[in-house]
């Protein structure tokens, strides 16, 4: 029972489930990893793009500044003597003014460009609002620096002067100023926010951050101590910062021209939400699959394993000879059919085995009866007396014949090797028997007329002789006339063989015939009273219910006893 169907199926189920769950786990793991990486990468790219945009804006103002710085017109305006002619001055001023307006008029950035001539007090600028150019410029030239004016408005400014200004006290001829207001950066940050960033701000350690207009400033303040970009050497891996409001993944990148960092943070729960969802789904589906597999196993156990085991038990009983064992409580489904078939098979086996046993018993009984009748003392005394008389009379022939008949008769009847004999063998026995009796009494004759096809048919041994004996014992007891025994064998079309024994004796009355007939038919199972009963039972057991011994009146006045049996198909005709 080690590898039953059930265990095989459970194994198969396990084999099926294991790779599925393994593959599934692997795919889940891979997709989660890829997703995490992609999300982080996407965020990085986003930050880099916006940093690039900001950088580009400042770079653009850089280049505008350089262009103006190198422009001859801009320089000439610093030296009024060069432009003594009013018309030339007007034209130069107009050119520079238009140039500055053109530079800042294009593009979406609203920075301010101005040329300041400290010595003449002239200012040419792109924006006409009063505070556009701060009253006090940085003490020395330099790239973008972050400053605040007296009103508290912050801005980035860079200046380049001719001659170069390196100290507060030095006064240049001209200074080209590029300035971007903090407000401009703020609206840029707000735009970034609306374009996909979470809550961007610009930060430089030591300065106040520049927020977007709708920034969560309290949260950012809480994060600031953790933000230390120094020492990261350009590689800005996302930081994990825990605040009172949750954990955040913080991305940052430096705007190179400013030295400030663009920072954006994402609540880790939000960023990891798709991955979490994936994992939850994976666990729940795996669990469900295992649960389903258990249910499947249980169902298999209940509807295959248990009925199968019962069936095996039934088989064992049959094997041990307990043919009365039957399957009870048939389950639903295919097993109900198997149970039913098993039950009917067991019933059939039981029936067959009983038949065989009964037939064996009958045969033995027949032999015993025969032996009993054979050692009938009268029969033996009469024959022996006959032989003595013949020897005394010198009828040697008759004595020898009688002896031969007697010896054949006894040889056949005492032979117990087989329970079957051919019709011919039976006829030989009957001839011996009749010859013996004819020699003793000489008051009857006999005729045998058998279809030659029947001679080789097999019938139970000693079935014909009791009929003939019946005639000699009962019909010719009180001989009124010369008796005749006719034995005839006929094969009928429907495969029915008839072997009849007729006599011309007194016969018996119809009522008596009927009771005799009934007596033969209703044989009790275990005891056989007469030889005729025995003959009928054996024929019936062997050839089926329609076969047997039938009694009826003979056309010659006496009784007809007829053996009828169904010729089996496989028997050679």
């Amino acid at each position: 029972m080690k590898s039953s169907i059930f265990t095989n199926m459970v194994l198969a189920l396990l084999l099926l489930l294991t790779p599925i769950i393994t593959l599934y786990a692997y795919s889940n793991y891979t997709s989660s990893r890829v997703l995490t990486r992609e999300i982080v990468k996407a965020k990085r790219t986003q930050i880099q793009t916006f940093v690039g945009q900001l950088g580009q804006m400042f770079a653009q103002y850089d280049s505008y500044q350089k262009m103006l710085y190198e422009s001859t017109e801009v320089r000439n305006l610093a030296y009024p003597d060069l432009l003594s002619d009013d018309l030339l001055h007007y034209r130069t001023l107009k050119t520079v003014s238009e140039e500055i307006n053109r530079l800042t008029g294009y593009g979406r950035w609203k920075g301010i460009i101005a040329v300041v001539y400290p010595k003449t007090g002239m200012v040419i600028k792109s924006n006409s609002s009063l505070g556009a150019v701060p009253a006090a410029l940085p003490d020395k030239d330099g790239f973008w620096s972050y400053r605040t004016n007296p009103k508290g408005e912050a801005y980035f400014i860079e200046t380049i002067s001719n001659p170069a200004k390196n100290d507060k006290d030095e006064e240049s001829d001209l200074t080209v100023v590029a300035k971007v207001d903090e407000g401009e950066i703020k609206s840029d940050l707000s735009e970034m926010k609306s374009n996909g960033l979470e809550d961007p701000f610009l930060y430089k350690p030591g300065d106040n951050p520049i927020y977007n207009y709708t920034a969560n400033q309290a949260l950012i303040q809480e994060m600031l101590p953790e933000l230390d970009p120094r020492g990261t050497e350009g590689t800005f891996d996302p930081l994990l910062i825990r605040t009172s409001g949750g954990t955040y993944q913080v991305h940052m990148d430096m705007v190179q021209s400013l030295g400030w960092y663009l920072v954006d943070y994402v609540p880790i729960d939000t960023i990891m939400a798709p991955i979490k969802r994936n994992q939850m789904m994976f666990y729940s589906i795996s669990g469900m699959m295992l649960f389903m597999a258990c249910i499947l196993c249980f169902l298999l156990y209940r509807s295959v394993r248990i009925p199968f085991r019962k069936l095996m038990q039934g088989m064992n009983f049959i094997e041990k000879g307990i043919y009365t064992s039957r399957m009870k409580d048939p389950p639903k489904g295919e097993f109900r059919y198997v149970y039913q078939k098993f039950n009917s098979m067991a019933a059939r086996i039981e029936e067959l085995i009983e038949d065989v046993l009964k037939e064996q018993i009958r045969t033995k009984e027949a032999n015993v009866k025969q032996l009993q009748s054979q050692i009938n003392p009268h029969f033996l005394y009469n024959t022996l007396a006959y032989i003595k008389s013949m020897v005394e009379l010198g009828e040697k022939e008759a004595a020898v014949s009688m002896t031969m008949n007697l010896s054949r008769y006894y040889r056949y009847t005492t032979k117990l090797s087989s329970s079957f004999a051919t019709v011919q063998e039976e006829l030989n026995l009957v001839e011996n028997y009749l010859d013996i009796h004819r020699m003793l009494t000489d008051d009857f004759e006999y005729e045998i007329d058998i279809d030659p096809a029947m001679l080789t048919m097999e019938i139970p041994r000693l079935t014909l002789q009791p009929l003939v004996e019946n005639v000699i014992v009962h019909a010719f007891r009180k001989p009124v006339k010369y008796g005749t025994v006719r034995i005839r064998g006929v094969l009928e079309g429907a495969g029915i063989a008839r072997l009849s024994v007729d006599d011309n004796g007194a016969g018996i009355e119809a009522a008596q015939l009927e009771s005799l007939q009934a007596k033969i038919r209703s044989a009790p199972s275990d005891r056989i009273d007469s030889g005729l009963q025995n003959v009928h039972q054996r024929l019936m057991l062997l050839f089926g219910k329609s076969s047997g011994l039938f009694l009826g009146p003979s056309e010659w006045g006496g009784l007809r006893a007829e053996l009828i049996w169904q010729v089996l198909d496989d028997e050679p005709q």
């Binding site: 997709s31 009013d86 007007y90 001023l93 600028k125 939400a273 499947l296 169902l299 639903k332 489904g333």
Partner: protein
Amino acid sequence: MIQLRRIYMIGWLIGIIALTSACKIAVGPDAAGGGSAPGAQRASVTLRMIMPGDESARMREFIDNELNARLKKELNIKLELTYIPWSDYQSKVELALSTGENYDLFWYGMSFVSDYKAKGYLRPLDSLLQTHGQALTANIPLDNFKQYRMDGRLWAIPSQAFTSAGKFTSVMVRQDLLESVGMKEIRTIADLEAFYLKMRAVDPSYYGYLETDRGQDVLWRELSDQPLTFLDENQMFAVNEETGALVNYLESDLYEEVARVRERWVGIGLIDKRLAGNKAANIDEEVAGKLLFRVGAVSRAMENLQTVQNADPDAKLREYYLFPSKPKYIVAPSNEAYMIPANAQHPELAMQFMNWILQSKEHYNFIIYGVEGKDYRIEDDKIKLLTNDQFMYEWMWRNKNYFMATTNVDDSVVQDMMHNDDNAKISRIFGFHFNPEPVKNEYAKVLAIYNEKFLPINLGIVSYDKEFPGSMEALNKAGYDKVWGELQRQYAAFRAAQAARADQEALK
């Protein structure tokens, strides 16, 4: 059997769940979400309109709540405004029109109407105006519609209907400073010069005059005995309103006289030659409250008041015409134009909406100033603003029948504006548009030469005597005659057509 079937089914279920979930994971989280259900059917129709500038926070709230609630009730429309910043306005509007985006209504300046009409962006409005525009025709003078009538059809609604005569021929003065030096009003060029010199004596930081490239016709009112009107923005040609004849202004004596006045102004410092050409610096002076006067524009004294008061809270402004008894001429009654795109989904609703604005004073105030009591209050027949946020731009729909001044504007300024058109006449060139196409090469050259050579003369920073002959020669070389000839031809044709129409009307 049933049990077995159940087993199969469970097996299938496992398989299907495994498959679908695997697919889901493979596709990733983007596959989820999406597919927003279409909103419930709105009963009202959405009217989509383009507006210039930036939408104020209060305006957004106002549209979403109060305005749309009313519009739904009264017109069964839902107004949806798309604001386009001023800097991108022209390009984005043209993009929207050329790609056929389904806007129902938009605003732009007068000069774009003929261009858009030629490009086929616009829908003619005659029948719509007739069916749905009773309040528009009732509150906008019939003449105002004429400027948007081309090929016999109307292409835009002149939304502003206010006084407009003599626009850019007046001078806007710091009235408070004028009074501080003992003067009351400006009537002559001498008044202006006196004002400057007196003020200069008090405080040399004050600066005289702003628009050096404009305002020659301010002086004409005194220097010319004939009433002239400029034909073009570039100030090369004019028309004599009296005779109807074209005037070659640059070669006239009047031009010389104007140039000499400007030369004098440069001489006394009224025009600062050091600032000439530095436009931002000019505006700086005004913003800083240091400007004494500049060219007026009928309502500029009202519109610029807030800016000046930021620098000097006591500042007052007023516009004056030199020789005020001389008549004023109306060249363009309304610069504002509301147009309905050819692709509009709901043109009749767009017309109904415009009509609704001018239907009553209450509608007018509601859409321009917001909710009474919340956004504004009426005090002594004036609007007291309670919020600084802009609603519908006042200048777009300013209407003489409904106009109410805001509380900070002086009564005298309001009176000036209201009575500006009192002795006005329709200009001869009303409805005339010069088409430079036949002489476009010459015209481009002429403009370049004019800007290079004549602007300094206009400004007075070079001597007329010294520079004019050479400049005029250069202009002639560039093909000035041809342009002048073509202009005369087109103007003659325009006048002939006008005369024919007048005859027909007379016959009727």
